[in-house]
C-alpha cells in the first residue's frame, strides 16, 4: 500500500508518497537522494545506516518508513551548515583521524551526536557504549574515540549564542 508521509528532514518539511514495505534507509537514499546514510548489512548489526529521529539514534535499515510520519529526522547531510560549514563533530573527526575509508563515518558521527546532545563531558566508557552499535573495520576505534572526545571539547567551548 502507498501513503503520503509528511515529516521533517534535516529541518525541512518534506512529503512523499511511499510504499508500506520500505525501510527509512532506502527512502532516504533513493526517494530523497541522500546517499550519506549507508547500507552496510541491512540487518541492524553494523550501524552504517544510523540516523537520528526525534533526538535518538536509530538504525534506518530496520525502520519501517510509515513510522517516520510527523517526526524529525536528521541525517549526516543535516549536520553540514550554511556554506558547507562542517558541524563541530564532523570537524573533530576530520582533525583527529577518526575517518579512514569513511563508510562507517556518517553513522558513527550521528551516534556521537546523539551522545553529545545529552552530555558534553562523556567518559571514555560512555563514548564506547554510544558507538558500540557502529562497526568500523579500518580505524580500530582509537582515533574515533579521540575525535568524539575532541568534539565534546569543541561543543563545550562553543559560544553559547
Amino acid at each position: 500500500m502507498k501513503k503520503v508521509i509528511q515529516f521533517t528532514l534535516n529541518g525541512n518539511e518534506v512529503s512523499a508518497e511511499l510504499e508500506s514495505h520500505k525501510m527509512l534507509l532506502e527512502v532516504l537514499r533513493d526517494t530523497f537522494e541522500m546517499t550519506g546514510t549507508k547500507e552496510g548489512c541491512g540487518q541492524g548489526e553494523c550501524g552504517t545506516c544510523t540516523v537520528i529521529i526525534d533526538g535518538v539514534s536509530i538504525k534506518s535499515c530496520l525502520y519501517p518508513v510509515f513510522e517516520v510520519e510527523g517526526k524529525s529526522v536528521t541525517t549526516i547531510e543535516g549536520l553540514v551548515g550554511e556554506g558547507g560549514k562542517l558541524h563541530p563533530i564532523q570537524e573533530a573527526f576530520v582533525e583527529k583521524g577518526g575517518i579512514q575509508c569513511g563508510f562507517c563515518s556518517p553513522g558513527m558521527i550521528l551516534s556521537a551526536k546523539a551522545l553529545l546532545d545529552e552530555t558534553w563531558t562523556p567518559s571514555d566508557n560512555e563514548i564506547k557504549r554510544a558507538i558500540s552499535g557502529n562497526l568500523c573495520r579500518c580505524t580500530g576505534y582509537v582515533q574515533i574515540i579521540d575525535s568524539i572526545r575532541d568534539a565534546a571539547t569543541r561543543l563545550s567551548n562553543q559560544d553559547p549564542k
Binding site: 508500506s20 541491512g42 541492524g44 550501524g47 538504525k59 530496520l62 519501517p64 513510522e67 558500540s132
Partner: protein
C-alpha cells in the same frame, strides 16, 4: 524485500479489527528490530504488519508500589529509569547491555518477549522477579505468569490475535537484590548464555531465591529445584559450587554456530553462581 501492508492503529480494538480483517496474512509489530530482519530473510512470511507504536497506553512505565511496564516501553526508557535501577538492578543490567544503543532506542520489552528467543536478555530478570504478563485479545484479557509464557523457541502461549499489553513486577521487598549476567563471543553479542538471580536475605541466610538461565534450553529456564536447595542456607563457596553442578545438569544446551553444548553447559553453572554472588552484593 517482500512487500507488506503497514497499519498503524491507535487503539487495541482497532488493532484486533485489523488483525481479523487480515486474517492469516498479518502479524503485530513492535519496534521491528527482530521481525523486519526475519521478513527480509524470508524466515517470517507476512503480507501485512500491524504496528502497535501508536497505541499510547502500551508505552508507559509506572511505579505503583511495584513496576508495571507497558509492553511497548522502550528499552532505552527502562534503562534510564533510576528507580528501576535502584529496585530491580537485574532488569536495568540486562536492558543496558541488550543489543546496542540504536536498537534500544526503538526495541520494546514486549517485542523482546513475544519474539520468544531463548536468549532474550530481558527474560531472565523478569523471570526471577516473577513478572506477570497481561495478554489481551478480542476474546478478553488474561494474566499469565512469565514462567508459563514461553512454549518453545520463538513460541509463546499467545494466539495470533492476542497482544501482550503489560508486564507487572511485584513490589521490591527489603533485603533483596537481583543481578543479571551475560556471556557473548564479543561484548556486542546475542547471549550465548545469560542468567539472573534474585535473593531475599535474612542476615546471612537466604530466605528466597529465584534463578533463571537463558539460551541453554528451548525456552528460558527457571531453576526451581536449585532455588529450593539454596533457600534456608548461607551463601558460601560450597553452596555455590553445588549450585554450579546442579545447573550444569539442569540445562539442555546445543552446539550451534555460536558455541558448543559443553561450553554453554559449563557457563550456565558459572553464570548462575556469579549472578547469585552479584545479587547478594546488591542486597540493601
Amino acid at each position: 524485500m517482500k512487500k507488506f501492508d503497514y497499519y498503524q492503529p491507535e487503539s487495541l480494538n482497532e488493532a484486533y479489527r485489523l488483525m481479523e480483517e487480515n486474517e492469516g496474512r498479518a502479524r503485530y509489530i513492535a519496534g521491528g528490530t527482530d521481525i523486519i530482519w526475519r521478513i527480509k530473510q524470508g524466515v517470517i512470511k507476512a503480507d501485512a504488519l500491524i504496528s502497535l507504536r501508536r497505541i499510547r497506553p502500551l508505552e508507559g512505565i509506572t511505579r505503583n508500589g511495584g513496576l508495571t511496564l507497558g509492553s511497548m516501553a522502550l528499552f532505552r526508557n527502562i534503562e534510564k529509569d533510576s528507580s528501576i535501577a535502584r529496585d530491580y538492578p537485574s532488569l536495568t543490567q540486562a536492558v543496558s547491555i541488550l543489543a546496542n544503543p540504536q536498537v534500544r532506542n526503538v526495541a520494546t520489552v514486549g517485542g523482546n518477549l513475544c519474539n520468544g528467543a531463548p536468549s532474550a536478555d530481558s527474560v531472565p530478570p523478569l523471570m526471577v522477579l516473577e513478572a506477570v504478563l497481561t495478554i489481551e485479545g478480542p476474546g478478553g484479557r488474561r494474566e499469565v505468569p512469565i514462567g508459563n509464557f514461553f512454549t518453545g523457541p520463538g513460541q509463546s502461549c499467545m494466539d495470533r490475535t492476542e497482544i501482550l499489553t503489560q508486564i507487572k513486577i511485584p513490589k521490591k521487598v527489603f533485603n533483596s537484590g537481583s543481578a543479571f549476567l551475560k556471556k557473548g563471543r564479543v561484548s556486542q553479542d546475542i547471549a550465548v548464555v545469560n542468567a539472573a538471580a534474585f535473593l531475599v536475605m535474612e542476615g546471612k541466610i537466604c530466605r528466597k531465591c529465584r534463578l533463571a538461565v537463558g539460551a541453554v534450553a528451548p525456552v528460558p529456564l527457571r531453576l526451581t529445584n536449585i532455588e529450593e536447595m539454596v533457600e534456608g542456607r548461607e551463601i558460601d563457596p560450597e553452596l555455590l559450587d553445588r549450585v554450579g553442578e546442579m545447573v550444569e545438569r539442569a540445562v539442555s544446551p546445543i552446539t550451534d554456530v555460536r558455541s558448543t553444548e559443553n561450553w554453554r553447559r559449563v557457563m550456565s553453572g558459572v553464570l548462575v553462581k556469579r549472578a547469585i554472588q552479584k545479587a547478594h552484593k546488591m542486597v540493601d
